[in-house]
Subunit: 286 residues, 2 copies
């Protein structure tokens, strides 16, 4: 299949690679062109702007960092939406549900469709094609997207027709993850102060009641105090939390408020480029 | 082996049953005597006060609701510590690390030892002998306790010599659990307000990033809004949180503070006898 892949960041790049490996023909675009050119050695065709990547009636996948980037790529000066026409836009970025609803309308206006399919998993899960993917959009569009999503992930679950729904799920999941990160950071501080080894305590939890990727991956980093970049950037987590808060709207949820404060503090402390687990570094000292 | 089992609540009763099934001879005591008598049909001997259950040099297991109950049973008027003498006290209640350290000293003073071995798991896990058990105490005492603990649980992990250590782990684990409960309650409120089914969202999370008992069990109840009693009583969770806070001491941990407030509110709303997930009912309405 001919696929346009737009956005080759730490997630997009391994995802595009898996599509190439599966035999698809890719036209790729990235804001900084060097990443797109690097993929040419693996069989992709690099193009100069988003519109050049798509063909009428074809498939375009977007994997960008935030609402502004996605909106520019889709509807900006060289935006691909008109050129994609009757085609399918698979929107995989972690963005607001509202933006996906708007882009679905824009694509629909030119005869096409949008499936929202944000992903759970860090870059290593993307490389291993083990992403978990909630998706939503019209039934026909989802049916067309499914084989592509199955190439990228290990589980795809549909959340119905609303093109905003999948991103509601994604933002909720990230909220759970950030809450767990804060909880683990506090727990490990208390355990360490009581004379226990952080690793021993986390290993026990992740072998029993909390034996799941969220605690294994983020708890592992927290246990080892490894806050280096390479996974889920703190600044992106802060962005996701703002989107969750916008979604929650007038709903006064106490933990949401606390996490907003905590992430603001972490950003103000200059931790934005580190891993999200660097949140632990802003805990008040005993 | 002859074992004294003290405390036949919703956790103690199925645990005592598993020891009987494994062929041990049990003398059992409970504050309300009917539960002890009920176990006589299964081969146990019911006694009138804690001291009568133990024999010098033997093994005593305690599974009581809080510090006050355990202290009374161990050191009160008919407390068992002197009568147990050179024996082994396996202290399985969720109590303060400090109390276990004190009881270890008392037992040591008469030639015996204490192993702290609090448990993770709800009554159904206790019945299935699938508890997860952190333990701590002197090496010899742990070696003696191990076969008994292996009869009650699926995983036993040692945390060294300090008889307080295992309860530090237990209180930390419950803190993680209560934080996850609050996070799931907020998430599901937002998802529902956005038009999604609570069950669909939770099923996705518990099949992927959060596929572990904490989220499956507590998330399942929250998804279904089933706050009925029978699992982990909210008033006991509030007690555990107070113990965690005492442990954290001067450490100003923001999520701990928030959960303390939330549980106080839930207790004030008369939810103490419901399941811990009833915490969701005190979320501010949109």
């Amino acid at each position: 299949m001919d696929i346009a892949f737009l956005g080759l960041g730490s997630m997009g790049l391994p995802m595009a690679r898996n599509l190439l490996k599966a035999g698809h023909r890719l036209k790729v675009w990235n804001r900084s062109a060097d990443k797109a050119r690097a993929l040419e050695a693996e069989g992709a065709t690099a193009v100069g702007h988003p519109k050049q990547a798509v063909s009428p009636g074809g498939v375009a996948i977007t994997m960008l960092s935030d609402d502004a980037a996605l909106e520019a790529v889709a509807l900006g000066a060289n935006g691909f939406v008109p050129a994609l026409g009757k085609g399918l836009h698979i929107s995989m970025s972690t963005v607001s549900p509202e933006l996906n609803r708007r882009l679905a309308k824009s694509q629909h206006a030119v005869g096409g469709a949008l499936v929202a399919a944000p992903v759970f998993g860090r870059p290593d899960a993307a490389a291993a094609a083990k992403l978990n993917i909630p998706c939503s959009g019209s039934e026909a569009a989802r049916a067309r997207a499914l084989p592509i999503l199955a190439t990228l992930g290990q589980r795809v679950q549909s959340f119905g027709e609303d093109p905003g729904a999948a991103n509601v799920v994604k933002l909720n999941g990230n909220f759970l993850l950030l809450a767990a990160t804060q909880a683990m950071a506090e727990t490990l501080a208390v355990a360490q102060a009581a004379g226990l080894e952080r690793r021993d305590v986390m290993d026990f939890f992740t072998s029993t009641t909390f034996a799941c990727p969220a605690y294994l991956v983020y708890g592992g980093r927290l246990a080892d105090e490894d806050y280096s970049a390479g996974g889920f950037k703190l600044s992106l987590a802060a962005k996701d939390l703002r989107l969750f808060s916008a979604l929650a709207g007038g709903h006064n949820l106490p933990l949401r408020g606390l996490l907003e404060q905590r992430f603001q503090e972490a950003m103000d402390s200059g931790l934005g480029d580190q891993d999200v687990t660097a949140l632990a570094q802003t805990l008040p000292r005993k």
